[in-house]
C-alpha cells in the first residue's frame, strides 16, 4: 500500500474526537428484533447451564414467550402508528421501521411461533427407550447408524439447540426486510442463513439426506451470498455509500455535494447495473426464483419437515421484503432497467415451477416446486411498481406462509415405519382412511391452487390485479395459464387421496399433540378467513404498503 494511502488513512483517523457523537439507538422501535436475538442468546446459555432433562421445556417456553412478546411489540408499534405516520429510519440509518417492515415482521413472528410449535412436537415419532422424541437427531454430531448414535438415543439426548438456532434465524429475518443499508442487509442475510443451514442437517430420520440437503444449501447459499456481497461492493463503489437513501439519490441523480470521486463512479453505469443485478440475484436465490431455485427441492425434501415448513414460509417473507425495499427504495430510478428482466424472471419462475411440479412423486418436492411457482406469482406483484403492488405482495406473503406451514405440518402426520411417508403413492386413499386430515390437506392444496373462497385466491387476485393495473397484462395471462397447469398437480394429489383405493400396507396418520394441531388449525383458519373476508387484512396491507425513504 502506498504511502499516500497510509497517510490519508492516518489523517482520517486523526480527526478530532469531539466530532464523533455517540450512536443513537431507538430501542423501542427495535424491540422486536432485540427481544428475539436476546432470547436466542439466553437460549444458548440455557444449553450451557440448564440440566439436560429440563432443557426442552425451558427452550420451548423461552422461544414461545419471546416470540409472543416480540409479536406483541410489533403490534404495539403498529398501533402507535410507527407503521404509518411515525415511520422512520432508526439506528443511525441502519434500520427502517415502517409499514412493510412491521407487517412482515409480524408475519415472520407468527410463522416462527407456529414453527416453534411444530419443532416442539414430540408425539409423532414412536417413543424411543421410554422418552418422547421430536423430529430432530438425538445427537447431530454422531454418525448415522453408529453406536454413538444408538447410545445417544438410548440416553434420550435431544438436539434442543434447534430452538436458539430458530430464534437466531428469526432474528435475522426480522432484520432483513427492515435493513436500510447494504451492510445491515448482508449481515441480516447471514444471520438467518447460517442457522438454517444447520437446522437442515439435524433430521432424526433419513439423516444422510438431511446432511446432504444441508451441504447443498450451505454451499449454494454461501455461493449466492458471495454474489450478493460483490453486488454490494459494486453498488457501494458506484454510490460511495451503503445507505439506501443515498444510493437512491445517486441513482436518480438528485444528490447534492458530489465529490469528484463520486462524480467519476456515478458516470460508470456498469457498476450500478452489475451491482444491482448481483444483489438482486442473491435475493432471488433466497426466494427461490428460476434459475436460482435449484436448491429448493432438494433442501425442502431433505430437511426435517418442521424446518422445511418454517423455512418455506419465513424465508420467502423475509427475502421478498428485502427485495421489495431494494427495488422500491433503492432502485426506483432504475425501474426501466430491472422491470423487463424481472418480467422474464417472473414468467420463467411461474411456468418452470408449475411445469416441473407435474411429474413429482414426493410430496415435499411437490410443495417445493409449488413454492417456486408461487414465488413467480409474488414477483408478478413485485414488478407492479405501485403501492397496490407492495400491499398485494404483503398480503400474498401473509396468506401464503400460513398455508405453507400448515401443509408441511400435515405432511409430518402421515407416517409409516420409516418415518414420514412422503412418497405420493403412499398417500393413496388417505381420504378414505382418515377423511379429516385429508380434507384439511385438500383445503391447503386448493388454497395453493387459488380456488375462490380460499386465501390463495384472494392473494392471487391481488397480485394479478396490481400487475394488470401496472400494465403487465402479459404477466397476468401467463400467470393464469401457469396456475391452470399448477392446478393439475394439486388436483392429482386430491384424486390420489380421495378417489383411489387405500393400500393395505399404507401409512398411518399419527395423532399430534395440541402444538401441531394449533399450527394446522391456524393455517386452516387463516386460509378460510383470508379467503372469505380478506378486507380487513387487505386494509392492513394497504396501510402498510408505504416504504419510508
Amino acid at each position: 500500500m502506498s504511502a499516500v494511502a497510509v497517510h490519508s488513512l492516518w489523517t482520517m483517523a486523526a480527526d478530532p474526537i469531539d466530532k464523533i457523537d455517540a450512536p443513537k439507538i431507538e430501542y423501542g422501535q427495535l424491540s422486536p428484533t432485540l427481544i428475539v436475538i436476546g432470547a436466542a442468546i439466553i437460549g444458548v446459555l440455557i444449553e450451557a447451564f440448564v440440566p439436560r432433562k429440563s432443557r426442552y421445556y425451558a427452550q420451548v417456553f423461552l422461544s414461545i414467550v419471546s416470540l409472543a412478546a416480540a409479536f406483541a411489540a410489533v403490534i404495539a408499534l403498529a398501533t402507535r402508528g410507527y407503521g404509518t405516520t411515525k415511520a422512520g429510519i432508526v439506528a443511525m440509518g441502519a434500520i427502517a421501521v415502517d409499514g412493510p417492515a412491521l407487517f412482515l415482521q409480524g408475519t415472520i413472528l407468527l410463522a416462527g411461533l407456529l414453527g416453534v410449535f411444530t419443532f416442539a412436537e414430540r408425539r409423532l415419532d414412536p417413543v424411543a427407550h421410554g422418552n418422547q422424541v421430536d423430529s430432530f437427531a438425538a445427537q447431530a454430531a454422531s454418525v448415522p447408524g453408529s453406536d454413538s448414535e444408538k447410545a445417544a438415543v438410548k440416553a434420550g439426548f435431544t438436539t434442543t439447540e434447534v430452538f436458539p438456532l430458530l430464534l437466531f434465524a428469526i432474528g435475522g429475518m426480522l432484520l432483513f426486510p427492515a435493513a436500510n443499508d447494504l451492510l445491515t442487509l448482508f449481515i441480516a442475510l447471514e444471520v438467518f442463513s447460517l442457522p438454517l443451514y444447520l437446522l437442515c442437517a439435524v433430521a432424526r430420520r433419513k439423516r444422510i439426506m438431511s446432511q446432504e440437503a444441508a451441504v447443498k444449501y450451505f454451499l449454494l447459499g454461501a455461493f449466492a451470498s458471495a454474489f450478493t456481497l460483490f453486488g454490494i461492493a459494486l453498488l457501494y463503489g458506484y454510490a460511495g455509500s451503503v445507505s439506501y437513501a443515498t444510493i437512491a439519490q445517486v441513482v436518480d441523480g438528485s444528490i447534492e455535494n458530489v465529490t469528484p470521486a463520486l462524480a467519476e463512479t456515478m458516470g460508470n453505469d456498469a457498476l450500478l447495473l452489475i451491482g444491482a443485478a448481483m444483489l438482486v440475484m442473491g435475493l432471488l436465490f433466497k426466494v427461490g426464483a428460476v434459475p436460482f431455485h435449484m436448491w429448493t427441492p432438494d433442501v425442502y425434501q431433505g430437511a426435517p419437515t418442521p424446518v422445511t415448513g418454517f423455512m418455506a414460509a419465513a424465508t420467502k417473507v423475509a427475502a421478498f421484503g428485502a427485495l421489495l425495499r431494494l427495488l422500491y427504495v433503492v432502485l426506483p430510478g432504475l425501474s426501466w432497467d430491472w422491470r423487463p428482466v424481472m418480467w422474464a424472471v417472473a414468467i420463467v419462475t411461474m411456468l418452470g415451477g408449475a411445469i416441473v411440479a407435474i411429474t413429482q412423486t414426493d410430496i415435499k418436492r411437490l410443495l417445493a416446486y409449488s413454492s417456486i411457482a408461487h414465488a413467480g406469482f409474488i414477483l408478478a406483484g413485485v414488478i407492479a411498481t405501485s403501492a397496490d403492488g407492495i400491499s398485494s405482495v404483503l398480503f400474498y406473503l401473509g396468506a401464503y406462509s400460513f398455508v405453507t406451514i400448515g401443509a408441511f405440518a400435515v405432511v409430518t402426520l402421515v407416517r409409516d415405519a420409516g418415518g414420514e411417508a412422503t412418497h405420493l403413492s403412499k398417500w393413496a386413499g388417505l381420504g378414505r382412511r382418515s377423511p379429516l386430515v385429508a380434507a384439511v390437506f385438500a383445503v391447503f392444496l386448493l388454497a395453493f391452487a387459488g380456488i375462490p373462497l380460499t386465501s390463495g385466491f384472494a392473494g392471487k387476485f391481488a397480485v394479478f390485479k396490481a400487475a394488470a393495473e401496472g400494465g403487465a397484462g402479459a404477466i397476468v395471462v401467463v400467470g393464469v395459464i401457469s396456475s391452470a397447469i399448477a392446478a393439475f398437480f394439486y388436483i392429482r394429489v386430491i384424486v390420489l387421496m380421495f378417489f383411489s383405493e387405500p393400500k393395505p400396507e399404507g401409512p398411518t396418520v399419527a395423532v399430534p399433540s395440541p402444538l401441531t394441531m394449533t399450527a394446522i388449525a391456524f393455517g386452516v383458519v387463516v386460509t378460510l378467513v383470508l379467503g372469505v373476508a380478506p378486507q380487513y387484512f387487505l386494509d392492513l396491507a394497504g396501510q402498510a404498503g408505504v416504504f419510508v425513504r
Binding site: L220, M294, W336, V356, I358, T359
Partner: protein, 648 residues
Amino acid sequence: MENLIALLVVAPLLGAAVLLCGGRRLDAVGHWIGTVLAAASFVIGAILFADMLGKGAEEREMTQHLFSWVPVEGFQADVAFQLDQLSMTFVLLISGVGSLIHVYSIGYMEHDERRRRFFGYLNLFLAAMLLLVLADNYLLLYVGWEGVGLASYLLIGFWQHKPSAATAAKKAFLVNRVGDMGLSIAIMLMFAWFGTFAFGPVLEATGETSEGKLTAIGLMLLLAACGKSAQVPLQSWLGDAMEGPTPVSALIHAATMVTAGVYLIVRSGAIFNGAPDAQLAVTVVGAVTLLFGAIVGCAKDDIKKALAGSTMSQIGYMILAAGLGPIGYVFAIMHLVTHGFFKAGLFLGAGSVMHGMNDEVDMRKYGGLRKYMPVTFVTFGLGYLAIIGFPGLSGFFSKDKIIEAAFAKGGTEGWILGGVALLGAAITAYYMTRVMLMTFFGEERWRHAPTPSPAEPSVEPAAETHGEHAEPHPHESPSSMTIPMIVLAFGSVFAGAFFGIGDRFIHWLEPVTGHAHGHPPVSALTVTLSTVAVMVIGVGLAYAQYGRRPVPVVAPRGSLLTRAARRDLLQDDFNHVVLVRGGEHLTRSLVYVDHTLVDGVVNGTAASMGGLSGRLRRLQNGFARSYAVSMFGGAAVLIAATLLMRAV
C-alpha cells in the same frame, strides 16, 4: 255453440289420459271408455254439424279462442280453434270412422292383454287428428301433425316384441319427421315474411307477397304433405306401417292420418293459388305417387301391403287434385271422404279375414273364403267395387271428377296428368281384382298344411305374428267387427252419389276452398266412359291372370318389374344404402374424430406438458455443482440482460 269445439278434442284426449294413466284396474272396462269417448266426440261433431247447417253458407265458420299459448315479443301463438265446412267434413269423417273402428277393435283386440293401452292410443290419435283439423294456426296444426305422428308410432309399434314392428314404427316416425321439417320451415318462412302463422292473416297476406316466396312456402308445405301422406319420395314408411294391428291400418293409414297432407294443401289453397310452380310440383308428386302405389299394389302378396299400395295411389289422386287448384280442391276432399269409407271398409275386411285365418296375411294362402265369411265377403266386395270406380258407387263419382279436372288443367300438362290418372284407374281395377280373386275365389289353398312363406321376410313379416302354424279354420268374425264393416260398406256405396249428384259437396265446401269449374278438352261424358272402359280392361286382365288359372302358393319369380315392385320399387334399398349405411359410416367416423381429434388435442397438450416436465425435471440431477452452474449462468444472463436493457 262455439264452446263445444274444444270438447271435440278434449273428449278423446281425456280418454287417452284416463286409459294410459289408469293402470291395470281399468283393463276390464278400458275399451268401453275409449269407445264411448270417441263416440262422444262424434256426437258433438254431429250437433255442431246440425247447427252449422242451420246457418247461411257464409256465416258457418265458427272459432273458439282458448288461451294464448306462446306469447313472446312479436310472436303470438294461440290455442284457438276454427271450425268451418272443411274442418267439419274432417271432424265427421275422423270421429265417425274412428268410432266405428273403436267398436271393431273391441272384437279384434279381444285376446290382447294390452287392449286398454291400445284404446288409449286410439283415443290419443283421435284427439291429435281433431286438433290438426281444428287448429286455426299452423303452429297448433303442427302440434296435431306431430301428435298423429306419435300416435301412429305407438300404434304401428304396438306389438313391440316384434323387432319388425318396432323398426317400422321408428321408420314411420323418422320419415314423418323429415316432412315435419318442411312444415316447421314453412312456418318460419311465414313468420319471417308475414309476422304471423295464423290461417286468416297468412292467407290474406298472400295477396301482397311475391310469387317466389309463396312458391318457397308451398314447396315446404308439400314436403310436409309428402311425409304425412306417404307421397313419393317419402312414401317408404307406409308399407312397413302395416305391422300395426289392422284397425290401425284402417283408421290411421287409410282413412284419416295419411290424408292430412291433402288437408294441409287444400287449407293452404291461397298460398298455392299464388304459386303455380308449387302447384305443378304438387300435381307431379301426386301423379308419380298414384302410379307408384298402384304398381306396388299389383305385386304384393301380403293383403295389407297390397291395400297399403292402393292407399298410396288413391292419396296420389287426392294430391293430384289438390295440385290442380280451385278446380280440384273440392274433389280432392270428396275423394278423400269416399276413400275414407271404402278403404277403411277394405282394411277392416282384410282384418276380419286375417282374424279368421290365424293372422295369415299372405293372399297366396287364402282362396275361396267367400263361403266361410259371407259378411266379410259382401262388405269387402262392395268396397272393392267402390274403389275401382264401379259406376254408381262412391269411388266412381269422386275419382271420375278428379280425372276430369286433371284433363281440365289444359295443355300438355292436362293431357299427361289426365292420362296418368286414367292409367292409374286401370291399374287400380287390376290389383283390386287380384286381391279379390286371390282372397275369396279360387281353390282353398290354405287346406294343405301351410308352409312358411319363402318370400323375403321384409315383405312377409306378419306371417310369424302369433307363430302357430296349425291349419286355419276360417270363420266369420263377431258382430262387433262385422257391424262396422257393414256401416262402412253403406258409406262406400252411397256416399259418392250423395255428394256428387247435384254438386252438393261443391256447394258445401265452396265458401272455404273456392271452386272453379274446369272444362276438359273432351266432353265430361267421354272422360267418364273412358274411365269405365279402362276399369273394365283392368278387371279383365286380372281375371285372365288370377281367375282362370290357379294361383301358385309360392310366388313365382316374376318379371323384373314385379320383383322390383315387391321390394317397393327398390326405394327401401336406396334408403338403406344411401341413408342408413352412409349415416352409420358418418357417425362412426365422427365418434372416432371426437375421440382422437377433438379430445386428442387436449389430452395431447396435457401429455406434452408432462413430457416437457419430465425433460426439465432431469436438469434437477442432484449435483450441487450443476445447480451452481445454473446459478452462475443465471447471474450472467441477469447481468447481461440488465446491461442490454440499458444499451437499447
